[in-house]
């Protein structure tokens, strides 16, 4: 058994490769096996994260793991899906057992919280740390939330405060600027709560949905494009956390909320929804309006030069 095979045993531990109703067979054969209950469909999403691109090189193994799995889970939330299981391809420069142990503890923390075991994957040696995670969930047949169902007159909602992802970034980028351990911005960056329960709760009401990863305005554009409609967002309705406002002030906070990305809140449209925070409405036309003024595509995209781990 070489060091990499040894490492794989950490991935097969009981707090990571546990049982789940849809999983027939997990780690240990050429393939894993999944089943569906009657009237279910699978949804799944693959994300790749590269060291120094999607997370800082100085991040801890635990934090890298929780961020990677939380960010991937957010795609299931955006479909209104229930998590089932995930697979992991990991490329490592060396098989450092302490690092792997801590990394698996991070994976396990999120996996257990969402009842989503690890069911397969691949461990390889390579020049830098690269992670590919595929998350798998189930939805009731035909009930997956997509980007393409928005309708004129529907309201636009978000599931929670915007801008915290970008607000956390100065801490993440600068290894000398210490995150308060377990503090608000550390959580926002390394363990953003995937809005899985929220996604399931709105799936009967929402006409379109996605998770905000690229930035509110840019992601609003994705719904407009897929639904062939326009959207007006009112900046004064966008929820901002007290922590963001205190750390960065009103003006910067709003910029972060509009263009920052990495928030992993849901952006969705519905005729009416009690749950979320209404920030605008769907209109006829094409493109995204902010306070009644149409925005160019480049205005929707995060500012150039804004260094970003997304």
């Amino acid at each position: 058994m070489n060091e990499f095979q040894l490492i794989q045993q950490y991935f097969n531990a009981s707090n990571l490769a546990f049982d789940q109703d849809n999983v027939v067979k997990g780690i240990g054969d050429d393939c894993c096996i999944l089943k569906l209950e009657d009237n279910q469909q699978f949804v799944m999403s693959l994300d790749t994260l590269v060291e120094d691109v999607h997370f800082p090189k100085h991040a801890s193994a635990f934090d890298i793991a929780t961020r990677a799995l939380s960010v991937s889970l957010s795609d299931l939330a955006a479909m209104g899906a229930s998590p089932v299981a995930f697979t992991l391809g990991i490329t490592l420069p060396n098989a450092d057992e302490t690092w792997i142990k801590e990394f698996c503890e991070g994976l396990s923390a999120v996996a257990m919280e969402f009842n989503m075991p690890l069911i397969g994957g691949d461990t390889t040696k390579g020049p830098c740390l690269v992670l590919s995670l595929q998350v798998h969930g189930v939805v009731e047949q035909g009930k997956a939330l997509t980007r393409s169902g928005a309708k004129v007159g529907h309201n636009v909602y978000v599931s929670g405060p915007m801008g915290d992802g970008a607000g956390a970034l100065p801490f993440a980028l600068d290894s000398t600027k210490i995150f308060e351990p377990g503090g608000y911005f550390h959580q926002a960056f390394y363990r953003p709560l995937a809005q899985v329960e929220f996604g399931k709760s709105i799936s009967a009401y929402a006409s379109s949905c996605l998770d905000v990863s690229d930035g509110l305005l840019q992601d609003a554009g994705h719904i407009c494009q897929a639904s062939h409609l326009a959207m007006n967002i009112q900046s004064d309705l966008i929820p901002l956390s007290a922590e963001l406002l205190e750390e960065h002030g009103a003006e910067k906070s709003l910029t972060y909320a509009l263009t920052g990305g990495d928030d992993y809140q849901l952006l969705y449209t519905a005729q009416h929804c009690e749950k979320g925070i209404c920030i605008g409405e769907v209109k006829e036309g094409d493109g995204v309006y902010l306070d009644g003024e149409i925005l160019s595509k480049s205005q929707r995209i995060k500012q150039a030069g804004f260094q970003h781990f997304n």
Copy 2:
């Protein structure tokens, strides 16, 4: 649209992201959506391939693609599954459009041959080329072939000649030693035919199965371990191709066949099977015997120092 978003359009082309019966929604939303027919289960496998570890740095984009997808498909063959679709996480140092175009042509060639469209993934920038492919297939409920069902008295079979993967390796490793274009060893290394049809055809007969990627003896050990049994393999029954014998001679060819790996033929057990080539039998006990002599674990594993892209 940045260069990486532009590149993603190649992945969304009609010869790669085509329709398939089990695919409800492919590329373009937060998740793809898959459905099952009654009485089907999903099987899936994730493989990660790293430049200069799993394929030579000088390999063409087309060859890298056909190898990556063929090798991944082989895991579906080993389960007796029908291919459905695949996802791809790709990390690239730069977005070279010519390279990507050729890479997508390679993917398309295999994807179309096996009716297995690309349904999602992620494209990221990183210091070196890393590919993570997840293949998805379907089997009839409870009919997936696994490693754990071998029974005493069953015969041991392979689906075709062994050793060609290792026999091709000197050509792959040495950029000055040219593969005959489209020749036998080039195919063996860069486009090993995944034994999908063979796997489906034996699924009613086989008691255990896997695909030979680590080497015949080592993989035989995997079946023994999972089935809690022993196996005797007769070296004179192992099929060797005329091409392998001609290039490497009898002795080296047999070593390649036993320990070389990368063959992607199926190794399976059955009471009786008309299709494959019988190379031995399942016995009570533990471990792998070669011509009646028990082998240590290290003897089953490829020789140390044998440089290997696997």
